[in-house]
Amino acid sequence: MIPRYQTILFILLLAASAVMGVVLWQLREHAHKRLLRGQDSAPTQAPTVTPAEQATLLIANDADDSLSTQILSLPLPQNPEARARALLGKLFDLYAASGSTHPVPGGAASVAQVFLVPLPDAGGKKITGGAELAVVNFTGAFASSHPSGIETESLTILSVCDTLNANLPRVTQVRFLVDGQPRATLAGHSDLTRTYQASNTVLESGDGGAAGGKRP
């Protein structure tokens, strides 16, 4: 037979440990919330004290599989990589807006980073001030929510390449990553593993010219 005082002691200790458990859980939740608040208040973008500049965006249109030029006035950072990211952020904000000609969800947050890498010249030397490769790192959320289709995926890639080249003429090639990793296709179609040429000079205009629309 267990003495009565031992039973009472046991119940008290059990109750105390339950209370401590609840208190610990609440402390943990508080700490977590504090951490999240701290992250929210951290500046995600440099303060836009720079004066607005003219930027050229190449806007995709799903209706006729085309790109059209739109010139906007934007405050842009001086750092080329931050500048490239801001330009693409604006592009994807336009695509996410209602009434977009190329609806793609995600907005500015779709582009995690843009890295600019000097390309070797003809002699194999990497020179600063020469041609550059832009590496565009999309978020996984963007890639998984991108509409699937040859046309829509091709247009997203093209408009990114041409927008970069239009504003940063040194960018002549573009590669893509998703969450920092290579990925086979954007959303099941367009190849994301290859290096894309970013140069407006290759763009043809006119009805059906690009794909031999005229009969042979």
């Binding site: 190449l58 799903d62 209706a63 006729d64 599989d65 085309s66 790109l67 059209s68 030029t69 209602s98 009434g99 190329h102 609806p103 509409p147 699937s148 289709g149 040859i150 046309e151 829509t152 091709s154 247009l155 890639i157 093209l158 390449c161 041409d162 090639q173 959303a187 099941g188 179609h189 367009s190 190849d191 593993t193 290859r194 290096t195 894309y196 040429q197 970013a198 140069s199 407006n200 290759v202 763009l203 043809e204 205009s205 006119g206 009805d207 059906g208 010219g209 690009a210 794909a211 031999g212 629309g213 005229k214 009969r215 042979p216």
Partner: protein
């Protein structure tokens, strides 16, 4: 203002591809064995040894994109893979009725990887290859040819750029499809794109992406865009594609070697 059809520009990947695909290697091996044999046997027995002569029939490869685990896109209540299969089956029966030989890359909801599809298509030695897709975005039918720069025909093609020797004729095939679809009152856009499947094909090849007949009305939600599901629209598209291929055959186009 820059308008018109964009081109996916790309440069060949920096790495070196295997020069021969295994199938080509097998052909070379078979060719050497055949030559050795032909020196030793009577000409009259050669016919029996030779591989079957290319069928007199005009061969078309229809690739129903996606399938099995690869759902493709999604619209209305069905995944893209189901739509591409039903259009492929419809087009196959139309072409067969018109005397074409037809090879399909899948006849059921099976997972067929890109390499297997390419192997089926390239082995068929076809005069036209049509890869069927469907998408919710855009309107009408989108035709895509490879964005590879055209190249001279060669006996051996690097695996990932085999289509470059066929790009000119793929453009011509896209033109034929464009004309027939427009004749049927269907909106058509033409473009170039970087699709691994198309870039490896050794035949005049076009990716056909069927989009809704009418632009989606944002007020009515996504269901409206599913006008693509309409069986009469699908039949209309299939008829136009078949008519284009009849023209393609009549023009004496096609043929594997450029």
């Amino acid at each position: 203002m820059l308008s018109g059809i964009p081109i996916s520009r790309l440069i060949p990947p920096a790495y070196t591809y295997p020069l021969l695909r295994s199938m080509d290697a097998m052909r070379v091996g078979a060719g050497i064995a055949f030559l050795a044999l032909s020196a030793a046997v009577l000409p009259s027995t050669l016919d029996a040894q030779a591989p079957p002569a290319p069928a007199a029939r005009f061969l078309v490869v229809i690739d129903a994109a996606h399938g099995g685990e690869d759902l493709g896109g999604r619209f209305g209540n069905q995944p893209e893979k189901a739509y591409t299969l039903s259009l492929s089956v419809r087009l196959r029966s139309l072409l067969t009725a018109r005397g074409f030989g037809v090879v399909t890359t899948r006849e059921s909801d099976a997972t067929v990887n890109a390499d297997r599809r390419i192997e089926i298509a390239n082995r068929a030695n076809a005069q036209a290859c049509i890869s069927v897709h469907a998408a919710e975005s855009g309107t009408g039918v989108h035709l895509f040819v490879s964005s590879l720069p055209p190249a001279e025909a060669a006996r051996f093609h690097p695996w990932q750029t085999a289509q470059s020797a066929f790009v000119m004729r793929s453009n011509a095939l896209a033109g034929e499809l464009n004309a027939a679809l427009k004749n049927s009152g269907i909106t058509v856009t033409l473009g170039r794109t970087a699709l691994p499947m198309i870039d490896s094909l050794m035949c005049p090849a076009v990716a056909v992406e069927v989009a809704p007949e009418q632009p989606a009305n944002p007020d009515e939600g996504a269901q409206d865009a599913a006008g693509i599901d309409d069986p009469s629209y699908q039949a209309h598209v299939a008829e136009a594609l078949a008519a284009a291929l009849v023209e393609w055959r009549a023009d004496g186009m096609g043929g594997r070697r450029p």
